[in-house]
Structures are given as C-alpha cells and as structure tokens.
C-alpha cells in the first residue's frame, strides 16, 4: 500500500479542515461573518478567533475583559504550538514509525534555527517576542509598571524616537543646560537598550535549550511507552520544559547580573528623566516632584518629633502625677491624729517632726502645733 495513503494527514485536506473549524467557531457567534479561505492553519485559527471575539466581546462585562484578553493571548500560543506540532506529525506520518525520531529532530532543529536567525535580526526584541513571548511580555508589563515619566516611552525603541519625544517638551531655561541633560538622557537610554539587548540575547540560548528539553521529554515518553494523545499534553510538556530550563537559567549568576543591569539601567534613566520633567515644571512655576518629596520628608520628620514630644509630655505628666501623689501622702502624714501619736514617741526614738516646742528640763508637757 502506498505509504502516503496511510498518512491521515495526507488524506485530509488540512487547510479545508481549518476552514471547517473556522466556520464552526463562527457559528458560535451569531452574526459573525464566515471567514474567508485561510492561507495557513495557524492564520486560519487566529483569524477565526479574531472574528469571533470581535462579534461577542461587546457582551462581556468590562471587569472580565482583561481576563479574556489574557485567555485569547494564551490561546494563540496554544494554536501556534498546535500548528508547529501538526506540521511535525504530518511529516512523521510520511516517514512511518521507523523514522519518527529523525523527523522530530529535524523539526526541532528548524525551530532552534529561529533563535539563531533572531541573533542576526536588527529588531531582536520583536523576534524574541515571537519565539519566547511570555518572558518578553512579562518585561513589557514590568516596563510599563516602572511608570516612565514620558508617555509612550515603553514604545520608543530607538534613541531617535526618544530624542524626538524629549525635545517636544518646551525649551525653557538656558539652552546649554538642557543640551547637557538631553545628551545624558540619550546616553542613559542607549545604556538601557544595550542592557535589554544583552538580556534578551541570553534568552535566545535558553530558548534553544528549552527545545532540547522538550525533545528529551518526548523521547522519555517513547522510552516508557507513554502515549501523547492530545495537544494539551504537548503544551503541558512544553511548559514543563520551559520552566525547568528557565529555573536553571535564572539561578545562574550571569542571568542575575543581566537582570540587575537591566533594572538598574532603566531606573537610572527613569531618575534622570524625572529630573528633567521637574526642570520643566519648575520653569512653569508648577510644583515639582523634588519639592514635594522635600516637603514630605520634612513632614515625616516633624510627625516623628511631634510624637516624641507628646510621649515625652506624657512621661512628664506621669512623673508629675506620681510626685503629686507622693506629696499628698507626705502631707497626710502631718494630720493631728498622727501628730499625737508622734508626740508620745520618746525623744530621739524616730520620726521627723517639725515642731517648735522644746522639752523642759525634768519633764513637762510638750507643746506642739
């Protein structure tokens, strides 16, 4: 029997299967247009997803929209993995059981070559984003979270774009001073770009290692006789492989330094840009961050001093109260009953008395107050 006729992937028009899938998905969203014939499988799935989402997203409450945005993002990742492995399974079916390992190795080799191509790419971040989107997406979120002082700074990829944005601020004050600060800002931004390039460059090598780890996990399944029966299983193996490799990479001192350099370079730029923004605000007679922080620091110091003063006052009040109590006790010991008792006390037997009487020689009554 012809080998090809045993290949379920060859007997099936894969593209038309995608078309059927896309139509089925569209039917879940009444009113959505049936998508046109797709060019590639992954494109078909993504296009169908976009059309469906466009049709139904309006009905989702706003508070749940971010969750669905994230879900769709992960779905696209799932599709991409599914598509990659579908291509591979098609090739495996062609070669039969005896050649599946070689086919798999060739396929993984092609995937690893994507990382090598990224090394020569002018836009390494975009390429890295395509190949290993999750760490890159995480960094984009981190960059936004650092709240750059210039709107849209996260999207400025080149010094020229940044220069243009910074120069759009009004030129108030001595020109020379601003020129020096602009030059410094360009230097710091350039430093950040170099550090981020180094950071993502490191991920290129890790991406290849993760593919090796995934390939090994698949071989392990073969050795132990455990079948892979769903795309979800492949996806989970892919996640496990990436997490293991990432963990080993992340504990490496080289990565920790790259990470530190990346953060520190961004913070250095952030601090400098904040200072420049303050210069503009100050020149426009508006409150600056510098002034506000000085006020806050002084206020905090004053609150501490006030608390200490109040506490000291309380301690003084407590001491005063204690002294008053002691005085009251002393005064009460001068009461008549006590004085009478004191007068029967032989002279010199104790007790202090302030009396003006004197003892007459040979006896006699004592006069006292």
């Amino acid at each position: 029997m012809d080998k090809k006729s045993n290949n379920p992937f060859m007997d099936t028009d894969w593209i038309s299967l995608q078309q059927q899938y896309a139509e089925a998905l569209a039917s879940l969203a009444p009113g959505a247009r049936t998508p046109s014939a797709p060019g590639t499988a992954e494109a078909a799935w993504n296009e169908a997803l976009d059309r469906w989402w466009g049709a139904v997203s309006g009905s989702l409450p706003d508070e749940h929209r971010p969750v669905y945005d994230t879900l769709l993002q992960q779905f696209r990742m799932f599709y991409a993995i599914g598509d990659q492995f579908t291509q591979m399974l098609k090739d495996m079916a062609d070669t039969g059981n005896g050649g599946w390992e070689a086919t798999m190795s060739a396929h993984f080799g092609r995937m690893k070559s994507l990382f090598d191509r990224a090394a020569g790419s002018a836009d390494r971040q975009s390429t890295a984003a395509f190949i290993w989107p999750l760490p890159f997406e995480a960094w984009k979120q981190g960059l936004d979270a650092a709240r750059p002082p210039v709107p849209g700074l996260a999207g400025a990829k080149s010094p020229a774009a940044l220069y243009e944005r910074l120069l759009s601020m009004p030129g108030i004050g001595p020109t020379r001073n601003i020129q020096d600060k602009l030059r410094e800002s360009l230097r710091l931004w350039n430093d950040y770009l170099q550090k981020s390039a180094a950071y993502f460059e490191a991920f290129r090598d890790v991406g290849k290692l993760s593919l090796d780890a995934l390939e090994e996990k698949i071989r392990e399944r073969a050795r132990t006789g455990r079948k892979i029966t769903s795309l979800r299983e492949i996806y989970d193996l892919w996640v496990d492989a990436n997490e293991e490799v990432f963990a080993e990479f992340a504990f490496n001192e080289d990565y920790l330094r790259l990470y530190g350099d990346l953060i520190n370079s961004l913070m250095a730029f952030r601090r400098h840009a904040g200072g420049m923004l303050d210069d503009v605000l100050g020149a426009a007679s508006l409150p600056t961050v510098r002034e506000t922080r000085t006020t806050q620091a002084r206020q905090q110091r004053m609150r501490g001093e006030l608390r200490e003063a109040v506490a000291s006052q309380r301690r003084t009040a407590d001491e005063l109260a204690a002294l008053r109590r002691e005085l009251a006790e002393l005064k009460s010991s001068k009461s008549p009953a006590k004085k009478k008792a004191a007068s029967r006390t032989p002279a010199g037997a104790g007790g202090k008395r302030k009396t003006a009487t004197k003892t007459a020689p040979g006896g006699g009554k004592k006069k006292g107050r």
């Binding site: 894969w14 760490p135 892979i228 530190g260």
Partner: protein
Amino acid sequence: MMNPFDLAPDRIAAEVLEYNRKLAEGMKTLSGIGDIPTGVSEKEAVYREDKLSLYHYKPLAKKLQTVPVLIVYALVNRPYMTDLQEDRSLIRGGLKQGLDMYLIDWGYPDGADRFLTLDDYINGYLDRCVDVVRERSGSDKVNLLGICQGGTFSLCYTSLHQEKIKNLITTVTPVDFHTRDDLLSRLARHIDVDLAVDALGNVPGELLNWSFLMLKPFRLMGQKYLDLVEVLDDPVKAENFLHMEQWIFDSPDQAGEAYREFIRQFYQDNALVKASVRIGEHTINLENVTVPVLNIYARDDHLVPPDASKALAGCIGSQDYTEMEFPGGHIGIYVSARAQKTLPPAIAGWLGERG
C-alpha cells in the same frame, strides 16, 4: 522506540474546537458572575490611622479564647486573601474555632507615605494596633499571627515588645533570606535599591507583581489561563479563579523608605539572621523572642522556600517552638480546601494549650 504521538488531524481539530466551545460558553459564565467581593466575614473597623485600618471580626463561636489574635499581614498584596470566599477563609475557620480575631489592613500607600520607615510600621502602627487590641479585649497580651513579610514584622516587633505578646505564630515567613533556592532573593541582590527608590519614590505594586510572575512565567502567565478555559463552564470554579485573579493583581504601592530598608537589610544583607537589623534606634535580636512560637511553612513554596522559614528555629530564644509543614504552596496554605480543614484547628489548638 515506538512513536509516542497518538494524534490524528480530526482529533486535533476537535480538541481545538472544544477549547473554543468552552471559551464561548465561558462568556455566559463570566457574564453571570457579578462583582467579586474583597472579604466575606463581618467585621468592624475599630481603629484607623493614616491609610491603616484595624478590623475586629464578629465572633462566630459562643465560647472565645480569652487572648485575642491579631493578624499582621504583609505590605505586599491585600489581606482579604485570608477571607477570600465563604469556603476559603482562614478568618472564618479561626472564628469558628473560637478565636477572637483582629486584622491590620495597611491600606494603599500614596505619595504622602513616601517616607514611612519600617520603624513607623513596626514600632508605630503595629504597636498602636496592639495597644488598641489589648485595651478593647481587656487582655494584657495578644497573640500575634504574622503572614509572610507580616511574620517578619511580627518577629521584629516581638523581639522589642515581648511584654505585650502571649504567643507568636508565623506563617510562610522569611527569616533567612539567603537560602540556596530563594530565587526572589537572588534577583534582588544586584538591584541598586537606592537608585530604584530615588527614581520611583513609592515602588509600584505592578512592578512587584511582575517580579513575582517572572519566577515562573510559563505557568503563571500562560498555563494557568488555559487551565481556566477547562473550567469556564463551571460557574463555581470560574468564580474561584476570578477571586484569586483579583487578589493576585491587587497590589498596593510600597512606601519608598520602608521598601528601601526591607530590601537592603533583609534581602540583600540578610541581617535578620545576623542579629543586625536596625528598626529605628533598635537592633533586632531574635534571641530576645522567648514566647511560645508556632512556625508554619509551605512545603512547595517558591516565594519563601521552606528553609527560609525553618531557619527561625536556630534564631529565637524560645524554649517552646513548634514547626508545622503544610503540603502546598505560598498561597495554597490559605486558600486550598486542605488548608481550611487543617490550619484553623491546628492554630486554635496550639493557642488553646497555651492559654
């Protein structure tokens, strides 16, 4: 070796279609879930100061333990994680066990809090809250229950104000910040924290979120959401997911000075185990802690590895030290079904034995 793949194109397409069917059905599920509440147990604010609120929970048991429990949460994330849902609430479990429970909600710091220090938090806010609880309850002492960084704060507090503390419970609390498998700590070591705080002022909560997600980016930013699709047709499970999701991304900013001190002294210098942490004018020496201590840690915790918590045993002077391992993760120890069954009775029982 046999080819391990047992997949055919029609099954692949069916699998993808099934996911999309669940995604579509999930819209109905999510549309039926309204606002997600932040905390479910009845409580009353009994003290407020700046952004802080001290809450007292309405008791649920007829007989209460006489010494109240004050929960000290971390500055990171929000404390309603301890009271997430009716059936996922450490608070509720403790109330049912007869604990008289209070909780400090640190609030959401803003620019006005930029210069708050650890001294302000520990010897200021926390100390005043302890005094309020003592006065309200009529008890000379309180039981402290610290969560994560809140546990670290509780240790520092107890070493300085032990006369006000009856018993101390620490949960998933970092003590030794330089253990071998502490990735978060390693990531912090090369950060110029002075530069970061000078640049940012208060440190944005989103930045902390990002750093936590980056510990396991593929699971926490990817796989987790595919797992959600699996349960989207189940309103109960979908709602559970959304409760957690809301809490995970509800991160207050960190007051700049307090953040600077914590990162430098604890994460970078590991000063707590060296007895050299400075809080205001005081040096923290955990050997001063001689009250009974219950130290609960999570076996699978990737944020505070077990060794980071277990180091407490070698630091404190207490003769009554108990360790308890929980088989779960950093968050699971509070929200998992197993946690609801095991933790409240364990805590209440341990406290009950110590009056």
